[in-house]
């Protein structure tokens, strides 16, 4: 920073009395908007234009001078002026755009850049490109729009979205990218909530742009939080004369697919054959339980925004209301949102103060737990209602643990609801230092306050309570979090006197802290059901707990961008992060990045000689960190036991304390990544796109690994141990295929293609074979502690870990007694009277027995290819757009089939309904670990189709549109949804909905 200061003070000393001054303003020739960042030069003097397009060059020698204005994406402009000593002469420029895309301003970390000058891998998406239809969470806006970005949501309205940028980089820390809203970084995963997505606090209609920083050079300015990439969300500010905008829409959603269960006749026949003892329990009804729990989900949304701009200010105030019901009864979401963006400039625009505020109140209702799973398990021969039952609903006799619950009863009797109040805001001041043009000081003060509540209530007469003796349960949790941020940084951007080209220097400091509390309370054996979630009646047992999580992150950061004639571009950045999560030996981490770009198209041998309007080669390397793991890992703590885990010492019960194992040196996970990219534009940017190759090597992965027994206080220790690699390519293509003008047919098509391979390279430093290092993961339904996935060196993370099912020539699983055991426990190849594992599975290691060693990694849930396509067609006032999304090479474990696709489920105290795969496999006993259930879930989905019509009414623009989301899906996958969660486990997931939305937007 000292060097910067010297440089800053040095620059203005050149002014001499015999010289003159040139001032002026640079604007876009067609829009007449001011152009910022234009290099205006005279000989070896130069300046950059301000946000208002103004520039000043002092110390210009007297005489006739040629003034040159250059900026990427515009044709160079020159003007000849006569300078007189001690006088000021004016030279204004109107510049003509050549390739508009290149001059587009893109939001980057701590600043903004012209798209054409960016040296990293960055993609900005703006509202015209956003997905249409009923979008509740902002992440869905960019689904299929950015190569290398995977977004997987729970299908609930407003449900949690998981984002992976260029694959997962972590196992035990988070793999979610950092999300920054208007310069305010949010907590890991976007913050906290009552259960739905934490980003729901932003009304998607308030968003001006979403920028994805994919490579390390773009993200490393966020240091220890940037290893998973960064998503910058910029909200709308006021533009143009004061006006009011209203957008309204209504929508209806229906279920696309449900689990494939036996119908009443099939169920009855199966019970008669396989569990004759249970036939007496069967009723005569014909109930499709899912028909009783699903519904058409109706929704409406109304947004009103007032915005405008004046000479030295702009403002935008928005109010939103959303009410969306889910396709499973009991699920809904209501959101009231308020957005305020206010910008005021002072002192001839030298001081710019911007306020961003987003506040929402969200009320959520959830389908009570177990409704979906019990709709699958409940016998279809049984009725919904039973007048003899005190609740009025039918339940299997005997209240045994081994019987399903009536899902309709759970829907009507149990409660699961919550709400989230969140407010995120900041004040950003930008001050042009008076003593030196081009030096700006920034201060950013921000906060993020969330208070949420989740309440569930199960009355004592609910079947699930009766069969477990729970006696009714009420549960609350009320998490709250307050994050505050202080950032100051200086930015100096100017042409250099000592070197050709221009520099942009940024250096600053950031201090953020977080305070969160997670109290919860649970009471059971209630004396009355009358209070529901609203009170605590006399309860036999109650538990409550408080967890306080404080953390702090202190950072210093600096960046240098060097631009030589818009042709050679260099970026250097470094961030030093100190985090309360790091152990004292590793309190501070340094995260450098370097990037360079060569705009080949600007070279004389290329310029004007090819149809290429842009060709830029980019190379970057950087080191990023991930500190999204739990607080206090470095402290050896004593965990106090609760009142239900006491030890009896003599006649009294004593609460316990337990020392926990800790690694005092715990630190961030480090990702070092390379990115090589090519940005191209053809025919004056009519066709544009980019190609990227990347490799991300993550080391110091936090794993909880076994430690030598007896040496520490637990069998596992959480420490920085593993490593992983992601390699991939990305392709983006955007083409104006038809340009029909205002009245003709126009067609813009864009494609995104990305391919990623993940390889877990090591887990454990103590060595051992890959098989010995395995960590099982992916807990599924069926048995207790059944894990279906594995973390194993040399394999992608979360690879399915299964037995190879023996199959006949048609691929059908063989299910017969063909291979028995001899007296030594080895295969005979002859029947032994029972169908067991050796009959079904391949003995991989040939040791004559089937055990854990015969399981093998078999595919993984991450898509190998993600392909997106969007077309926008306009003809006169009509517009039609659609977005297609495809995954290739993603596999899903069909857990409903593996858990309920066997006849043994009929022999329970009351029979469970079966998944229809049993009719094909004939499995009498569960085969949870068979590769039969790991199914290729590649798919092609029409994500949305939108048809719109624009016209004017009484002189005001008006638009009506209709959108259909999840129009169709083509897939060979047999379960409920091929995007069944990021980890590919399809177990009674919320089904995907097909949504039709009709809407109108007006402006007046």
């Amino acid at each position: 920073m000292a060097a910067l200061a010297v440089l800053l003070w040095w620059a203005p000393l050149a002014a001499q009395a015999s010289n003159g001054t040139i001032i002026g303003r640079v604007t876009d020739a067609s829009s007449h908007q001011a152009l910022e960042g234009v290099t205006v030069s005279v000989g070896d003097h130069g300046a950059l234009t301000t946000a208002e397009g103004r520039y000043i060059i002092v110390g210009v020698p007297a005489g006739t001078q040629t003034v040159r204005a250059t900026i990427i994406g515009y044709a160079d402009a020159t003007k000849t002026v006569t300078v007189t000593g001690g006088q000021t002469v004016t030279a204004d420029f109107q510049m003509t755009a050549q390739a508009v895309g290149l001059s587009k301003i893109v939001v980057v970390a701590y600043g903004q850049q012209r798209a054409g000058n960016i040296t990293g891998s960055v993609k900005q998406v703006t509202p015209t490109e956003f997905n249409k239809g009923r979008i509740v969470t902002p992440q869905q806006l960019i689904q299929a729009k950015v190569p290398g970005v995977q977004i997987v949501g729970s299908n609930e309205p407003g449900g949690g979205q998981e984002i992976r940028i260029r694959g997962a980089t972590s196992i035990n820390a988070s793999s979610d990218p950092l999300i920054v809203v208007d310069g305010m970084p949010l907590a890991s995963g976007g913050g906290i909530s009552d259960g739905r997505d934490p980003l729901n606090f932003i009304n998607p209609n308030d968003i001006a742009s979403i920028t994805v920083l994919k490579d390390a050079s773009a993200a490393a300015m966020y240091g220890a939080n940037s290893a998973n990439g960064v998503i910058l969300i910029q909200t709308k500010s006021g533009r143009q004369a004061p006006h009011i905008e209203y957008r309204g829409s209504v929508s209806a959603s229906t279920v696309t697919r449900l689990p494939d269960m036996l119908n009443a006749a099939q169920f009855k026949a199966a019970v008669q054959q396989y569990a004759p003892g249970n036939v007496s329990q069967l009723g005569t009804a014909n109930t499709n339980w899912f028909n009783h729990v699903d519904r058409a989900g109706i929704g409406q949304q109304h947004d009103l925004a007032v915005s405008g701009e004046g000479n030295s200010m702009d403002y935008r105030l928005s109010l939103g209301y959303l009410n969306q019901r889910g396709i499973i009864d009991g699920t809904d979401l209501q959101r009231l949102s308020l957005g305020l963006n206010y910008d005021q400039r002072f002192f001839d625009d030298h001081l710019d103060i911007r306020t961003n505020l987003h506040t929402s109140h969200e009320v959520d209702n959830y389908t009570p737990g177990g409704v979906i799973s019990n709709a699958a398990q409940m016998g279809p021969t049984q009725p919904v209602l039973d007048p003899n039952n005190p609740t009025g609903y039918y339940e299997w006799p005997g209240n045994t643990l081994q019987s399903a619950d009536n899902p309709v009863a759970a829907l009507r009797l149990a409660t699961d609801k919550g709400h989230t109040d969140r407010s995120v805001g900041n004040i950003q001041a930008e001050y042009d230092m008076p003593f030196l043009e081009s030096l700006k000081a920034h201060i950013n003060l921000g906060y993020d306050l969330t208070q949420a509540k989740r309440e569930t209530f199960s009355p004592s007469d609910l079947h699930s309570q009766l069969k477990t003796g729970g006696g009714g349960n009420v549960y609350w949790r009320t998490p709250s979090m307050l994050n505050t941020l202080l950032e100051t940084y200086l930015d100096y951007s100017a042409p250099l006197d000592v070197l050709p080209g221009k520099v942009d220097l940024t250096g600053g400091y950031s201090y953020s802290q977080s305070h969160a509390e997670y109290p919860w309370f649970s009471a059971s054996q209630l004396s009355t059901n009358l209070l529901g979630v609203n009170g605590v009646p006399g309860a036999q047992t109650s538990q409550n707990q408080q967890d306080i999580e404080d953390s702090r992150l202190i950072s210093f950061f600096g960046r240098l961008n060097y631009d030589l004639n818009d042709r050679y571009l260099l970026g250097l950045s470094v961030r030093r992060d100190g985090s309360s999560r790091f152990g004292p030996a590793n309190a501070w981490g340094v995260f450098p990045a370097v990037s360079a770009a060569w705009r080949i198209s600007e070279e004389p041998f290329m310029k004007g000689r090819t149809p290429l309007s842009n060709l830029k080669l980019r190379v970057s390397w950087g080191k990023t960190g991930n500190q999204s793991f739990a607080n206090y890992q470095q402290y050896s703590t004593y965990l106090v036991g609760d009142a239900q885990s006491q030890a009896q010492l003599g006649t009294q019960f004593v609460s316990t304390i337990r020392p926990s194992a800790a690694d005092p040196d715990i630190k961030w996970e480090t990702t070092k990544s390379w990115d090589v990219g090519l940005d191209y534009g053809i025919l004056n940017q009519r066709v544009t796109g980019s190609i990227d190759w990347y490799r991300k090597n993550t080391s110091g992965l936090i794993f909880t690994v076994p430690v030598a027994a007896g040496t520490n206080l637990s069998n596992y220790l959480t420490t920085n141990i593993g490593s992983m690699r992601n390699t991939g390519i990305e392709l983006g293509l955007d083409a104006d295929i038809l340009k029909g003008g205002a009245n003709g047919l126009s067609w813009n098509a864009s494609f995104t293609v990305s391919h990623n391979t993940n390889d877990l390279t090591s887990i454990n430093p103590y060595g051992g074979t890959a098989a010995q290092q395995q960590i099982l993961t992916g807990l599924v339904a069926g048995g207790v502690g059944t894990y279906i996935q594995v973390l194993q060196p040399g394999q992608p993370i979360n690879s399915f870990y299964v037995y190879q099912q023996k199959r006949d020539k048609n691929g059908k699983p063989i299910y017969s007694d063909n291979n028995g055991l001899d007296s030594l426990g080895h295969f005979t190849g002859k029947p032994d009277g029972v169908i067991n594992e050796q009959d079904l599975y391949v003995d991989q290691n040939g040791d004559g027995i089937i055990n854990q060693a015969d399981r093998r990694p078999f595919h993984d849930p991450a898509p190998k290819w993600i392909i997106g396509h969007t077309s926008n067609l306009t003809y006169r006032q009509w517009d039609l757009s659609f977005t297609l999304l495809a995954y290739l090479g993603n596999w899903v474990y069909n857990n409903v089939a593996s858990n309920l696709g066997n006849y043994q489920e009929l022999s329970r105290a009351s029979p469970y309904n079966l998944q229809a795969s049993v009719l094909y496999t004939g499995f009498a006993t569960p085969q949870y670990l068979s590769d039969y259930y790991v199914q290729n879930a590649s798919f092609l989905r029409m994500d949305n189709i939108t048809l719109g019509y624009d016209f004017t009414y009484h002189g005001q623009p008006l638009r009506v549109y209709g959108a259909l989301q999840s129009a169709f899906t083509i897939t060979g996958y047999k379960g409920v949804d091929p995007t069944a969660g990021i980890n590919g486990l399809d177990n009674n997931i919320y089904p995907r909905s097909r949504t039709f939305t009709g809407g109108v937007s007006v402006r007046f």
């Binding site: 036999q540 106090v640 006649t651 027994a709 454990n764």
Partner: protein
Amino acid sequence: MIIRIRKALVAAVGLLLVATTACTNTTVQPKSTVTGANVFNDPGAYEAFLAKLYAGLAVSGQQGPSGKPDIQGIDEGFSQYLRLYWEAEELPTDEAVIAWNDVGLPNMNTMTWGADNGFVRAMYYRIYFQVGMVNQFLRETTDDKLDARGVSASLKAQVHQYRAEARFLRALSYWHAIDLFGNVPLVTENDPLGSTPPKQSTRVDLYNYVVSELKDIEGQLPAPGPDTYGRATGPAADMLLAKLYMNAEVYTGTADYADAMNSIQQVINSGFYSLDPSFHHLFQADNNTSPEIIFSIPQDGIHTQTYGGVNFLIHAECGGSMDPSAYGIDGCWWGIRMRSQAYNHFSAGDGRASFFYTSGQTVDVADIPTFTDGIAASKFTNMTSTGQAGSNPGFVDTDFPMFRLGDAYLMYAEAVLRGGGGTRAQALQYVNALRERAFGGTSGDITDTQLTLPFILNERERELLWEAHRRTDLIRFGEFTGGSYIWEWKGGVAAGTATDAHLDLYPIPGSELIANPNLKQNPGY
């Protein structure tokens, strides 16, 4: 005016930059957990830490019944010490099968476990979790540390007794390690806390260490009384010593029945215990009042909740047409039954068979996952001796009688028969005392000629069924592996088959061989 404001602004920006760069302290101490630095500021911490050492046998973590588990890598309910120990001692034997298909569990029924078996692994880690906790307790309670913290003289005396109790618990777990795994590392409070992998010890070294520990603490442990219920006492240490001596030939290659006899006599003659007039009472919700129990793992429906322990036993032994409310519980887990061999060892009139549940159950276990295959038994129950249900149908009050006088009587008889001293007359008297309680009179008494080692093995099964002794007993009698005694599904075949002798020891978990390169796997794995 504007210039002044500007100057002020410049100054403010400058100041802010300077002031903020000064704040570089990243330390944030935890608030809602207690750290090692301050935990012993509370004098109650010593008792609370001791309580954890006991709780390590009774519950699975710091949140009852489930949550904040002690060990990882396995379902928490499965990870409970007593549940794992019970499964290791009972499931491979003629006494029990369990119906469930959870990965690794069926192999416990059939002696087909490998080094990756999750239940074997969890048992190993459970043992060393106990050892690690005790070692840390001993490190934190040395006289030096107590003096440095300025604890009162009375507390210091108290802590001295706590230390002896802690060492008893460590000895108990090391006994399990010797019995189940054989040659495993010996880690004590003198080893540093950290991640340096310990060396492998021999079974003999461990045996000698545990014996010397128990001899050393015997005198420091309190005498039995109301305040020591569920805790280590002098006779409990003697009983544990007796267990080691009885199996010395298995553990060390050298029999030591004389010392076994000596320790057994110390227990019996201590005068603190008598046979409970009611056999059933030993396994009921109020069994804490039984005069027979020497060392128990207490459970409680309100205070000590777990999905393991006796709660697991009572729920898992219930299924078929059994009515859970008859046993004071909320539901059946459809798990444990006897194999036909064990059932057939009981004769008519034996009251110890009176809790067998035969309705709808077959004698033979044709199919292990089918609960109705095999005779069920409600030996453990959450009903009190007066017919009341326990305090909570979800979590039982019934304590686990790990050591009891009845066992000591049978050990006495066995030690006599194996030449450890004592008298046959006394042995016969003890055996018949148990049989008279079982048969409600002398109808089941045996004669001196019937008092043989094979009889003792079968009598131990009848008396101690499902009390987690069977595997150790069968090994001591040479009947566990091999082909001399075959039971249903032994070796994974319905009729049963001979098994290899290496199965007398469980494998050291594969994950442990990676974590600790000093270790060599037990032979045969």
